[in-house]
């Protein structure tokens, strides 16, 4: 699980172009949206594509994303349970 969290942080920084941010700047429980990393709606769509591309998870209900993308912890837990690759 720790390796997956690290991988997620690296992918989030790279895919979402979070310049000048390192994995050490993202806490496992930090809010990804709102007051946390300040991600926006396009970032949310990028995260949905990332789940599909990297882990074979297709989110069909956008409401699901609200909980899954709360933090790196919630993402890692969901991916561990649902990944197909």
């Amino acid at each position: 699980m720790e390796a997956l969290k690290l991988e997620l942080k690296e992918n989030i920084i790279e895919q979402l172009n979070l310049e000048d941010m390192t994995v050490a700047d993202i806490g496992d429980d930090d809010m990804l949206f709102g007051d946390g990393l300040g991600l926006d709606s396009i970032d949310a769509l990028e995260l949905i594509v990332m789940l599909d591309k990297n882990y074979g998870i297709k989110l069909t209900d956008p409401k699901e994303g609200r909980h899954i993308f709360e933090s790196v912890n919630t993402m890692a837990a969901y991916i561990t349970e649902h990944r197909s690759k």
Partner: protein, 205 residues
């Protein structure tokens, strides 16, 4: 063509160099655009994290506009009545290609939403408008080369009809590491008359 308006400032970004009002204010040896524009961003202390999410055309337009508008000492908390009239040759072709690469293989079909949103050239106007709270008129024209006559007459019309107090206009083009931004601000007062001839002269110097 005579005009009651003036060019108050102009910025040119090309060949690894940034000029403001005809004076070179930044030069960098980076040959690749992403490196060069990142150095420009840092040199001018723009401090706008969303900059790194923009496509190449938007980064180029955003910084050229930012360099001009910073010089105007605008209150960024207040809405500004500044119209934007841009033009270029390649539209959003650079980003269009990126998107096309992502969708051409049906077995590896993962188009990026963050790329797709930039597959229109006028998105760069939106980026500038958000930063500087510009909610006025805007247009983006496609020409083979800088069309000074059209830009001048269109901008003058906006000012004549009181659609805006000022107009930020010019040329911003990006395609395959070839880049050029030539933006200028038109207002009632200033030293250089806003005319086709002066626009062309400033562009060519």
């Amino acid at each position: 063509m005579t005009s009651n308006y003036h060019i108050t400032s102009h910025c040119h970004i090309k060949n690894q160099t940034v000029s403001l009002n005809g004076v070179e204010v930044f030069h960098d040896d980076s040959e690749l655009f992403p490196d060069f524009i990142k150095h420009v961003y840092k040199a001018f202390e723009t401090k706008y994290p969303k900059f790194f999410k923009m496509d190449n055309l938007s980064k180029l337009a955003f910084l050229a506009a930012d360099i001009i508008l910073k010089n105007e000492n605008l209150d960024t908390q207040k809405e500004q009545n500044i119209a934007i009239v841009f033009s270029n040759k390649a539209a959003s072709l650079d980003t269009d290609r990126l998107h096309q690469e992502a969708i051409q293989n049906s077995s590896n079909y993962f188009p990026s939403p963050a790329v797709f949103v930039y597959t229109l050239p006028n998105i760069c106007i939106g980026e500038i408008s958000i930063k500087y709270k510009l909610f006025s008129e805007n247009s983006f024209f496609i020409f083979d080369t800088l069309n000074a006559e059209h830009l001048a007459s269109y901008s003058n019309s906006l000012l004549d009809m009181k659609k805006a107090d000022k107009v930020l206009c010019g040329w911003v083009d990006f395609d395959e590491n070839h880049y050029e931004a030539f933006l200028y601000l038109v207002a009632k007062n200033g030293k250089t008359a806003h005319s086709k001839e002066h626009i062309t002269t400033l562009y060519n110097t």
